[in-house]
């Protein structure tokens, strides 16, 4: 859906739904998801509808993802860091009883 205008100067390594990816340093998690053509970043807890980043400035809360095992993180307000584990969030995230 989105492409990078120029090659990134520095990359870091993260995993997106289990796949290892070299991503541009300084990018947000939401920007990575969009540049990787991830079809959606979460499903809603109410109807299970698919959602993806909408506002990119931290006000719509539609880009909630599981980041390093913690659900409900705004992907657009989270900068990538080395080794970060990013997962599409299903509804409210994992069942807390299992943790």
């Amino acid at each position: 859906m989105f492409k990078q205008l120029s090659e990134p100067l520095e990359t870091i390594s993260v995993t997106l739904n289990g796949h290892k990816i070299d991503a541009a340093k300084g990018m947000t998690v939401a920007a990575l998801a969009l540049s990787q053509n991830l079809p959606y970043t979460r499903t809603t807890p109410v109807s299970g509808a698919r959602r993806a980043p909408f506002c990119m400035m931290g006000v719509c809360y539609d880009c909630l993802m599981m980041i390093d095992g913690i659900p409900n993180q705004r992907a657009c307000a989270t900068l990538l860091s080395e080794g970060m584990r990013i997962e599409t969030q299903q509804a409210n995230g994992p069942d807390w009883g299992e943790r």
């Binding site: 959602r51 506002c55 400035m57």
Partner: protein
């Protein structure tokens, strides 16, 4: 972490916050600027310090103005608390914040909120589909990550930002499948009486016209007076449908960026308990304030677009005016000195704002968009409450936004009503026959940003002095 108590705390690192901090620091006031971003600039000048030069050029000269502001702030003695998320603010000027997973409290003698603007959320059929985003999101992706649409884009909506983004994309080599302008054609007439005053700030008009000429020359299909905008697709955007000159048209696209103007971000002023008014010209809630930016709460100021939409240039001046008033209230400068130092900012601000009445009239959105006439359109994106469900409750006699919230859960999801409160105000008023101010504004409750119980429990709490 640095000091926990400051004579002055400024929340927000856009033009208003940066200029307020620089001025206060220049007068020797120990102050700190708290901001959620990793570098100064706010949304308008996002990534201004780190953006590659060729990308900055594509964004235009107005964007590059942010460099000077960020530099002046960096050169000042003001403390900088970046990547800091404010999740609470109360009328006693206590701030709950989180940085790098650590929650803590801050307090201040005076606070200037410079929370800025957000895109006006306007619900229309299909606006929750992946592939439908706000125009501001497109700009932020460009500024922060150098990302542009790779399979073309449809732009739709109304307002200067839509044209600016189209122009920026054009120069970045992005295929613009169409620009759908939903501005009612009748607005040309209603805005006409405001044109002479707008000519006093004609650089805004000439820039807008130049963008349009560039887009036309490049052969971008532009549709004026568009209505009945719809985003359609199976679990993602596939087509954009709209009406133009009585005919229904359909365009294939995986990306639709919409823009319906901007409104103040009021989560912080609401949390603090400031009084808010409905602004009929800008069609949004905004905090009450005097002409220095002082809110209904003693010792709390608001500056920039968070106070009411006037644009980035005006925000710089508003930030300085608020800082001057803070300095005076702390007896660091005399009233006469404050008034004298504010003169130029007031003049520039006045000159800059000549354009506003015209812009507000020209880009007034049609009622058919604001009141969400399609019953099955989702209004509350979080709790998935439709316009029909809201109208049903209004027809049951619940003609107040907060009542409606209790009955439907509209506005109770993670975004806390940020995305639906404006539309709810329009729907309730339209359906009940009340005026919008009578329908009330959603009450905000802390935490106003995500905070885990773990962060709260591990909070470093010391006796507040």
């Amino acid at each position: 972490m640095k000091n926990k108590h400051y004579p002055l705390l400024i929340i927000g690192g856009g033009p208003a916050g940066l200029s307020a901090a620089a001025l206060a620091a220049e007068h020797g006031l120990a102050c700190a600027l708290i901001d959620e971003q990793a570098e100064p600039g706010g949304q308008i000048y996002r990534a201004i310090e780190s953006i590659p030069e060729p990308h900055a050029k594509l964004l235009g000269s107005e964007y590059q103005r942010g460099k000077g502001l960020a530099q002046a702030f960096r050169n000042s003695s003001a403390d900088y608390l970046p990547e800091t998320r404010v999740w609470s603010l109360n009328a006693d000027l206590q701030i709950g914040a989180t940085r790098q997973d650590q929650a803590y409290m801050l307090s201040a003698e005076r606070i200037i909120i410079a929370s800025g603007a957000m895109e006006r959320p306007v619900p229309f059929p299909g606006w929750t589909l992946p592939g439908v985003m706000q125009a501001g999101a497109g700009q932020i992706l460009f500024k922060t990550a150098g990302l542009v649409p790779d399979n073309g884009v449809v732009l739709a909506g109304s307002g200067p930002l839509l044209l600016l983004l189209a122009w920026q994309y054009l120069h970045a080599g992005v295929e613009i499948k169409a620009l759908l302008d939903v501005t009612p054609l009748g607005n040309h007439l209603t805005a006409l009486p405001k044109l002479p005053k707008a000519l006093l700030a004609h650089h805004y008009l000439t820039k807008g016209i130049a963008y349009q000429i560039d887009l036309k020359r490049a052969g971008v299909p532009m549709y004026l007076g568009v209505s009945d905008l719809k985003a359609e697709g199976d679990e993602k955007l596939q087509t954009v449908q709209f009406k133009h000159r009585g005919k229904t048209k359909t365009l294939e696209s995986e990306l639709l960026l919409t823009h319906f103007g901007v409104i103040p971000q009021i989560a912080l002023t609401e949390a603090a308990g400031c009084r808010h008014d409905w602004d009929g010209n800008q069609q949004c809630w905004r905090p009450q304030h005097d002409d220095w930016g002082k809110t209904s709460i003693e010792k709390l100021w608001i500056a920039g677009d968070g106070a009411g939409i006037n644009g980035a240039r005006s925000a710089e001046h508003a930030g300085r005016l608020a800082a001057l008033d803070v300095l005076q209230s702390l007896k660091l400068i005399a009233v006469e000195k404050r008034d004298q130092l504010s003169k130029k900012d007031r003049q520039w601000m006045l000159a800059d704002r000549h354009i506003r009445p015209f812009l507000e009239a020209y880009f007034q959105l049609p009622k058919s968009l604001l009141t969400v006439p399609q019953d099955d359109t989702v209004v509350c994106r979080c709790e998935e409450i439709s316009a029909g469900e809201i109208r049903a409750q209004v027809n049951n006699g619940h003609d107040n936004s907060n009542q409606l919230k209790y009955f439907t859960r509209c506005g109770m999801g993670p975004c806390q009503g940020r995305q639906c409160s404006n539309a709810v105000a329009h729907i309730v008023a339209d359906c009940s026959g009340k005026n919008i101010p009578e329908t009330g504004l959603f009450r905000g409750r802390p935490p106003i940003a995500p905070l885990t119980l773990k962060q709260l429990a591990a909070m470093d709490v010391e006796e507040q002095t």
